[in-house]
Structures are given as structure tokens and as C-alpha cells.
């Protein structure tokens, strides 16, 4: 059981490293390809099915951990929830984000959507909704992830991941009480 630590290694120059955790391994590769289209910074993508990761001394420092949750499947949510405890608490200062897919599917129970929102709000992490059926949707999702990734990697002047975390802390709690169809 190895905790993933955010500050155990030095960052690379102009480099941002993102870890995509998805139980179903369906979207992560396409999303990774879309993320690599970015040219202003060097993006490195790492994929995993769930945490913990195997021990690897040569693994660089990971700037942002993204949990991709397919709302139509309960195991997908449970696996993400179980993986959270293998992250160092330092990650929750703005270096974790949740991405939800298939939220518009009719077979999604509203309670699961609420559970995901509750989880994200209680950990003060941003929650993104993505479209995974079309290439445009994947590019859009990658674009939003890049914005967060640059901030999390410290590549945006005058912004830190902690600042991002504070922003979400202010806005999210009232969000939890709202019904999910707003």
C-alpha cells in the first residue's frame, strides 16, 4: 500500500503530468490523446484502472489526478471511491478532480449523481461533466482538464493549486443541497 505523494519529487521544467484513473479503461486513452494535442506545455499522461499504483521509483511527480466515473455503472463509482484513500492528503489541496460521463443517460439513478456531487464537494474538488460519445466532446473535456492541469502544475502565473481549492470551497457546499436537475 503505497500512498501517492504530490511533493516527493521535483517538478520538470514546463511539464505537467496528469494521471487518469478509470475503472472501465474506455475513455482514458482517447482523452490522453486529446490532451497531448497541447503544445504550449509538455503534457505527460499516465493511465491507471484504480489506485494504488505499483511501486515505481522512476515515476515522476504527478500534478493532477483525475477520476473518471461512468454514471451508468455502480462499480465505476465504487472503484473511484475506494481509490481515494491511496492518495496523500496533500493532493486534496487542488490536485484532484472528478470527471463524470454519461450523466445524460436515462438509466442513471439520480441518487448516484448526488453521491458523486457529495463526494466531490466534501473533498473540495472540482467536478466536470464530459461527453464521451463524440470526438468534439472528448476534445472539450480535454480542454477543460488542461486548464485545471496548468493551474495544478503551477504553470499559470499568480495561481496555485491551493487557490483553486479555496475557490471550490467557497462555491460548492450550497451546490450539494440543490436538486440534481437544476
Amino acid at each position: 500500500m503505497a500512498l501517492l505523494k504530490p511533493f516527493s519529487k521535483l517538478p520538470g521544467l514546463n511539464t505537467a503530468i496528469i494521471l487518469l484513473v478509470e475503472n472501465e479503461e474506455k475513455l482514458q486513452l482517447r482523452l490522453g490523446d486529446a490532451l497531448l494535442k497541447e503544445t504550449s506545455v509538455v503534457v505527460n499522461v499516465r493511465l491507471a484502472k484504480s489506485l494504488p499504483l505499483p511501486v515505481n521509483e522512476r515515476r515522476p511527480r504527478i500534478d493532477l489526478v483525475v477520476f473518471i466515473i461512468n454514471l451508468t455503472s455502480e462499480p465505476s463509482f465504487q472503484s473511484a471511491e475506494a481509490s481515494l484513500k491511496y492518495l496523500d492528503p496533500g493532493y486534496f489541496l487542488g490536485k484532484v478532480c472528478f470527471m463524470v460521463t454519461k450523466a445524460r443517460n436515462a438509466s442513471v439513478p439520480t441518487r448516484r449523481l448526488d453521491a458523486v456531487r457529495m463526494l466531490a464537494a466534501s473533498l473540495h474538488c472540482p467536478l466536470l461533466f464530459a461527453e464521451d460519445q463524440t470526438p468534439e466532446g472528448v476534445f472539450g473535456a480535454a480542454d477543460r482538464l488542461l486548464t485545471i492541469l496548468k493551474g495544478a502544475a503551477g504553470l499559470v502565473p499568480f495561481t496555485t493549486p491551493l487557490y483553486l481549492s479555496h475557490l471550490t470551497r467557497c462555491t460548492l457546499p450550497p451546490d450539494v443541497d440543490q436538486p440534481s436537475f437544476d
Partner: protein
């Protein structure tokens, strides 16, 4: 033409889709090309039947010829009804020397000895399979051609596939099969399904097999270059390897279902009433899919089912059967028994 023959032809035409009917009639070769062209396949089935009856009467065709037509249709389209498989045991010394003529003669003699009114038709298909069509009668009635039993046997192989057999007539067929193939016993192979070819491939091991190995293949060992790195590539590769070991690789036989009949004790520490019952908890678990082995393999390689695969599932391919009775491990019944570890 007799009434029963007419009735049989009518049923045959009704069951066969029109486009197949045309191809089968061409193959049948009992009608002249001119007669074949006179049948209009766009008309409703009952009109086609009437035309065919007239033509058959003209040509003086009998029940024998019509059964030929049916057999041809079944050989071309074997995936209907449910095929059950049986395994012949204890071959005698001359079992390997049984050839088609001898088998034909012996089978007919043995079955006719047991049952007087029975119509048997044997035909060899191109892929070495011997197809047998049996229409059963009783002591006093003529053979009923409307519900024939079909038997497929590959000579020199211990497997027999049977379709549409009633339990009353089963011992008769089994006995004549055992005697005419020079074996001493026959048993149910516990494998059934609508696709004859899938069942045959599974029993005769005609699919791509994957053998257990500890070394990963040289290709998988190479480190993936490039900016996208899978952190758990090793675990993923081993999951895939174990899945293909259990369920085969490449195209697997298209099996539709697997049935597990549980007769084990109920074990749940939180439910004492059920656990303390002396009688086993009886239930049936049925998996079904359009291609069940493929589905299992995907579940295992995607990590939905845990690996290594439980022997309960992997023995579908290993033992070539899809019906299992699971009882608690008892020394008395060791052959069929496996510890229930679900």
C-alpha cells in the same frame, strides 16, 4: 399422393424460409429445370405448397424423396432446435476400423431389432459427419415423419450429437449407437445448445487454445515508449493472459448458455436459520449470452470478474460441458463434485 406425405410436405414448406426453399429445391435435383421455374416464390406459402404437391404427383415422388429434401435442408441449416451431445466410452479393439458401410448396416439392423416400425435414413456429409434421420413409429403405427430425430456422428470420434429425442426412445437409440460403433457404454456429455458447430468445436477442441505460461510474451515486455504510460500495464497484461487461458483466444465456439445446478449447503454467518439447515440449498444459476465464452473472457480481461478465473467458469472450456451439478465435497461422488467456492 398419400395424405401423410402431403401433410409432411406442407409442414416442410411452412417451416422453411422462402429464399432457402429455392436453394434447397435446386440441390434436391428431383424436379426438372422447367418445373423449378414454374414455382413462383413470391406467392404465399400455401400456393407454393399446392404447386409443389402437383409437381410431386406428376413425378410420382414418395415419402422417401420428401424426407431427402428435409434432410438436405437440415444439413444446410443445422442451427435450429437444441442439440444434445453424448460421449461413447470404452471402445473395443476394432472400434477404429468401423467404416461407413459397416456402420450403416449395423445401425439399421440394431435399431430395427429394437423397434419394428422405424424409418432410418443415413447420409454422409462432406465434412466427414454421418447424418442420421430417424422417424419413429410404434408397434402398431407407421413412422411419424413430422417429428424426426436427427443424429450426427463423426466416425472414429467418441461424440454423438442428437436433436429432438424423447426420453422414451433414448435408450433404444443409445443402445444401437453403442453397438454399431463398437463401444461398450455411452454417457451424457452435459453440453447442449442450438449451434451444432459450436458444440462440435468445443468437444473436439477445434479452437485456438492458449497454454499457461509464466513468461510474458516478448512484445509485452518492452516498455511502452511515448508520452502515454499505463501505470498498471503489467497487471493488465496478466489479466488478459489469464482470461485467454481460461476461455481461449481468438474466435471461440459460440456457446449460448451455461447452467449451474447448486446443491450445496447455504453458508452465511449472518443468517443462522439458513446455515443451520441440514438440507442443501437448491438453486439453478444460468448464464446466457449470444456468445458466452467471449463475454466471460471480456469480463475477466476488463477486470469485472476477478482473475485467476474460478474453476467453475473455466471448466466450461476445459471439460467441454455447459451443465454442471455442484454438490458439497463428499468422498462418495468424487467425479462430478467440486467445492463450491462462489
Amino acid at each position: 399422393m398419400e395424405k401423410s406425405t402431403k401433410c409432411f410436405l406442407q409442414q416442410l414448406v411452412r417451416r422453411t424460409p422462402t429464399r432457402m426453399l429455392k436453394a434447397t429445391l435446386e440441390k434436391w435435383d428431383r424436379l426438372t429445370p422447367h418445373q423449378r421455374q414454374s414455382v413462383d416464390f413470391t406467392l404465399p406459402k400455401w400456393v407454393i405448397t399446392q404447386t409443389l404437391v402437383t409437381i410431386c404427383e406428376e413425378n410420382g415422388l414418395t415419402m422417401k424423396h420428401i424426407t431427402e429434401l428435409e434432410m438436405m435442408h437440415v444439413i444446410e441449416n443445422p442451427n435450429q432446435g437444441t442439440w444434445y451431445s453424448f460421449q461413447l466410452l470404452d471402445p473395443e479393439d476394432d472400434a477404429h476400423s468401423v467404416e461407413l458401410m459397416l456402420f450403416k448396416e449395423q445401425f439399421k439392423t440394431h435399431l430395427r431389432e429394437l423397434m419394428r416400425n422405424v424409418s432410418i435414413k443415413i447420409k454422409k456429409h462432406t465434412d466427414e459427419a454421418v447424418w442420421i434421420r430417424i422417424a419413429w413409429g410404434s408397434g402398431f403405427s407407421r413412422p411419424n415423419h413430422l417429428k424426426p430425430t436427427y443424429v450426427v456422428h463423426y466416425l472414429q470420434s467418441p461424440y454423438v450429437f442428437v436433436r429432438n429425442l424423447t426420453s422414451k426412445l433414448k435408450p433404444l437409440l443409445m443402445q444401437s449407437l453403442t453397438l454399431s460403433t463398437r463401444h461398450q457404454a455411452i454417457k451424457d456429455a452435459n453440453l447442449s445448445g442450438p449451434k451444432l458447430m459450436a458444440i462440435r468445436d468445443l468437444l473436439m477442441k477445434q479452437y485456438q487454445q492458449s497454454f499457461p505460461t509464466n513468461d510474458a510474451s516478448p512484445l509485452a515486455k518492452e516498455n511502452q515508449p511515448g508520452p502515454i504510460v499505463n501505470e498498471q500495464a503489467e497487471a493488465r497484461a496478466s489479466r488478459r493472459r489469464m482470461a485467454s487461458e481460461a476461455f481461449g483466444k481468438g474466435a471461440v465456439p459460440q456457446l449460448q448458455s451455461a447452467v449451474y445446478k447448486l446443491e450445496t449447503k447455504y453458508r452465511d454467518p449472518s443468517n443462522r436459520t439458513m446455515t443451520e439447515r441440514d438440507e442443501p440449498f437448491r438453486c439453478v444459476v444460468k448464464y446466457s449470452s449470444s456468445n458466452i465464452l467471449e463475454s466471460f473472457r471480456h469480463c475477466a480481461s476488463a477486470g469485472i470478474a476477478s482473475t485467476p478465473v474460478t474453476p467453475l467458469l473455466s471448466s466450461i472450456l476445459l471439460k467441454g460441458r455447459n451443465y454442471f451439478v455442484i454438490t458439497d465435497n463428499a468422498p462418495a461422488a468424487a467425479s462430478q463434485t467440486r467445492q463450491a467456492d462462489l
